[in-house]
Symmetry: D2
Subunit: 333 residues, 4 copies
């Protein structure tokens, strides 16, 4: 960490600050320029309150030199992490398609969609049992019954299951679930992340609506610092000033995450765009910029879906898209 002192700082003020820093077990290296003095802080700077330091009258600015994320940092772990679930793999050159309905509705629906997406090449089945909704008066998902139906679909097709958890007290219900999803609204529900970090389940962590890339990686770090290294990152659109689509899909995070971290990153164009005509082009764009997978809503009868039908592909649309994604995936290798 580097602190730049203001012009006009007295020797006494500087020494007082250095004493305070040393009391926090830091080594301080002073570099005096003509116009300013730079303090280099060495040691466990993670504990230093940058904002407090930066707010002091004599301090011009403060800057971290090293990133505060460690376990997900590619610098300390150069090889790509590969998440394996049975035969399905995500990351390190393995591309995965995760497909299924927004919400689980009934046995026919979920098994029907599971069979359809499997035959179109999907490696994972997704489906919501616990649904975070802005309004308490909206459909909240089938809950435990939804989990039971997903496991039926798993038995029927062999597809591993991805589904969302909203409350750590429901963890027992997820014993046979293959990948636990943390939704965007819970990306900084730190207590939930810590508890999931104590399991060994793969966690699909969605980026929060207004969270920076660094915060996203720090949330992965919450899971990993408790021992669970199986984290899949998922970009699903951020909130900006424009509203022509539901959110603004920030695809540039894909190559940026690959630069900063060894974790795999998948993209969810269904939730990001919310409009069926935008989904295939954005899914192809996700593949083209190097995503390790895509997550797509597929429904066999969109008009009757209980929620999110506007963003669900039909099985044949999904199959056609899957074919194009495979060609692009090969083109960029």
């Amino acid at each position: 960490m580097i602190a730049v002192l203001k012009k006009g700082t007295t020797q006494a003020q500087m020494e007082h600050l250095i004493a305070w820093l040393r009391a926090q077990n830091l080594d301080v290296h002073v570099s005096q320029g003509e116009d300013y003095t730079v303090l280099g802080l060495i040691g466990d700077t993670g504990k230093v309150d940058m904002e407090l330091l930066g707010s002091l009258d004599i301090v011009e600015s403060v800057k971290r030199v090293t990133e505060s994320f460690k376990q997900c940092n590619r610098q300390f772990h150069p090889d790509d992490t590969v998440i394996s679930v049975g035969e399905a793999k995500i990351g390190g050159g393995h591309f995965a398609m995760i497909a299924g309905p927004c919400s689980v509705e009934n046995e026919d629906q979920i098994i029907g969609v599971a069979q359809a997406v499997k035959s179109a090449g999907a490696q994972f089945l997704r489906g919501g049992a616990f649904k975070p909704r802005t309004s308490p008066y909206d459909f909240q998902g089938l809950g435990a019954e939804g989990i039971r139906l997903l496991l039926e679909a798993k038995r029927a097709t062999g597809l591993p299951i991805v589904t969302e958890i909203m409350n750590i007290n429901a963890l027992d219900l997820f014993a046979e679930i293959d990948v636990i999803q943390v939704g965007a609204r819970n990306m900084q529900n730190f207590d939930l992340l810590k508890e999931l970090g104590k399991t060994d389940k793969p966690i699909l962590l969605k980026r929060g609506l207004a969270n920076t890339l660094k915060e996203f990686l720090m949330s992965a770090e919450y899971i990993m610092s408790e021992g669970n290294q199986n984290v899949i990152l998922c970009e699903r659109g951020i909130r900006t000033f424009d509203t022509y689509a539901r959110n603004t899909l920030d695809l540039t995070v894909v190559p940026m995450i690959h630069e900063l971290s060894h974790l795999p990153v998948v993209v969810d164009p269904s939730h990001a765009t919310g409009k069926i005509k935008l989904i295939p082009p954005m899914a192809m764009a996700a593949v083209a910029c190097g995503a390790d997978g895509v997550m797509l809503e597929v429904h066999n009868d969109p008009i009757h879906a209980l929620c999110d039908g506007a963003q669900s592909l039909k099985p044949d649309q999904f199959a056609a898209l899957a074919g194009k994604m495979r060609i692009i995936r090969e083109a960029i290798q």
Copy 2:
């Protein structure tokens, strides 16, 4: 709810849509114009999937006519809600100052600050025991011990306590706490909101970093729909493109909330700005636009605070500010 159909929609298409809507127990009122047809939907439209409806090929756009928030809506509850805790009151003409340190550190600190803010006129003591931090490696608060120390301060000064909950499983620890705070990152942790809705404690609900005013009110609705009507809303800055302050304090929500809802709204300029020189002017601005209270960080020794010292006033700064706020409060009556 109103759905506008596209020019060129056939009679058969329209009838098919109307049948589908009626199957959802809605009455449909058709109004045919020259260039478009408008369907008025009457009944429990809260269950209608606006996005699905809007995504249909023949539908130009969909619009809700009535707001989906009910219990916090001023239309159905014209009188201001007043939250009372002992002698302290917030809302309906009662202005409250909530002050205290960012984190509880030790008994001397919390009791010292409590006495100082009380003598400067604060009606509530705030202090963090459970701290949401972006990094798992940062100080996470004293936890249960912090709660114990807050209750010591309550006994010493009589001030009611406001402190944050991060995990519903910790609720037992909050039995003697007066006002439970839900932090910005948990504003859409719906399971937490529902559980708090089953208690009768006043809840101070902070607006999420990137949540709209409507989402904010819907989160209050989550608490209220479970039975707990004691909700205090708190504006604490939103995330925008600019970074000169920590967040962008959106003071205009104060008069807007007073228009839409009967709930009291307080403002937290300390977290919003993160810079000590910006806090007094923004606290005064909050009063001037009608806030029912302000929440301020006060510390007796900012440079040694474990966190957020940069935004903590000293007791004498708080006392001076409190005096000016009282004058402005009178001026706007």
Copy 3:
């Protein structure tokens, strides 16, 4: 346009409003529901002040049914617009690569880069002569001399030239320039747009940093409404809360523009990302979602470039990327 009246509006109030609307030469069609009354306004509603109407006490909300953009609207012009400059074409199935340095520096540089990008397959040469810079103390471009050098490069290679105008009074200098660029900061410099609308030059209009898609299309409309139909839209990143890249590239506008408008749309990943490692993946993603072209900064000696070197590809990097883009372009047909 539709206006929804509030419950409780009296007959007299409604009649007064209708009289006011009719005085604005509108037909008003009344549709009375149980809970609300809907007024359908027919005629030249473009002149109606929606905000004034929406602010009236008896009006719940106002909604435009038809878009206010006409000339760039695909509804009224179903076929793709193709912009032709000599043999180069953009739009309607024609994909164009526009490449060149950020700033024109000297004759050797611009001719060298022009030859390099031409041999790698670029159809247009770009280069800045007039440079919009945040600070008045930064390099502002070579101006007229830069234009002269660009025309030298055109003579040497035959490549048509794309360069930015900042001031309509400089228009004479652009007589031999093939495509005039309007930068993001001038997207709503309406007087400049109108003057360019009186020329017959193709205009490459960049989206403003914080402009919605609708505002972007309305700015194209400013040019077209004066007679010039040759507009190329350019997405170059928007401003959001995150800062890991210079801007947030909003690729989803590409398929959305293709839905709403017949104008071609190109993508500039160099300015959007500002980081050389992010440019190739985002250029490929732009192709994958259907962009009609990409605009890329290429420099033969990035470290000595006077500005923006951080985002300039070398000619061999550009050539390798061009090859991959061609494969993806074929895959998505």
Copy 4:
């Protein structure tokens, strides 16, 4: 300027970089830590391309130590700038109310409003003659005739006039105008700013919809660097994700500008909020946080105003508000 080199940078790489920096007439001061090396760059670092430097493989990060704004910087000009127009003053303890209609419509209207706002205490008359509108089909203002009518109102009341310029070629029309306004959409129309910098008229510069505070100050710097020191800054709301008001009024810039700059800052709550009920509370908040003035739309017949009526106060509402603002202004002294 400080550049931090990455761990693992070789001596040869560092020397190559230092040579390149010295070739740009900079002194380089090397400070070697255990984990990183810091280069302190001394000299005219305004010319250094920070992005290029930061993009080099061996460079971890780059940071400016001194701000790039000079003439508007309080560090180099500690006393408040006071803008004087006749007897009216803004800044340095002088508070000004600028009031008038959105658009000039006719002589009766503008003189009527001018008399009304004068008697309520306004020091300046505002009114739009040239109107920037998102759509080319919307009313664009009376133009030269509007200017003529404003000057009639000035003759009738003695109030100095504030009105917007959109095109430097119209400057002659502004010869008798007292304060020239630059609108939000032209905040980075650098050629316009430079030309206005060559005049000696006070310029009221509005903040762009999505411009940072630093960019705002740099745009003032464009005017000042050409010689014109008479700049008034105006906050009028920024664009964020929320839409309950037209824009998000960022009042915190007021105390922040007072910290960084000696220029006066006024606030325009009419355009920022777009809703009449929000204007008085936000105007009072602007005063409470220290604004040097407010700019308010006042109209004698809002329902017939050609534009923006939704945000226009009536004269008696303005007079009542003016009284409250005076009390708050006194309270904060």
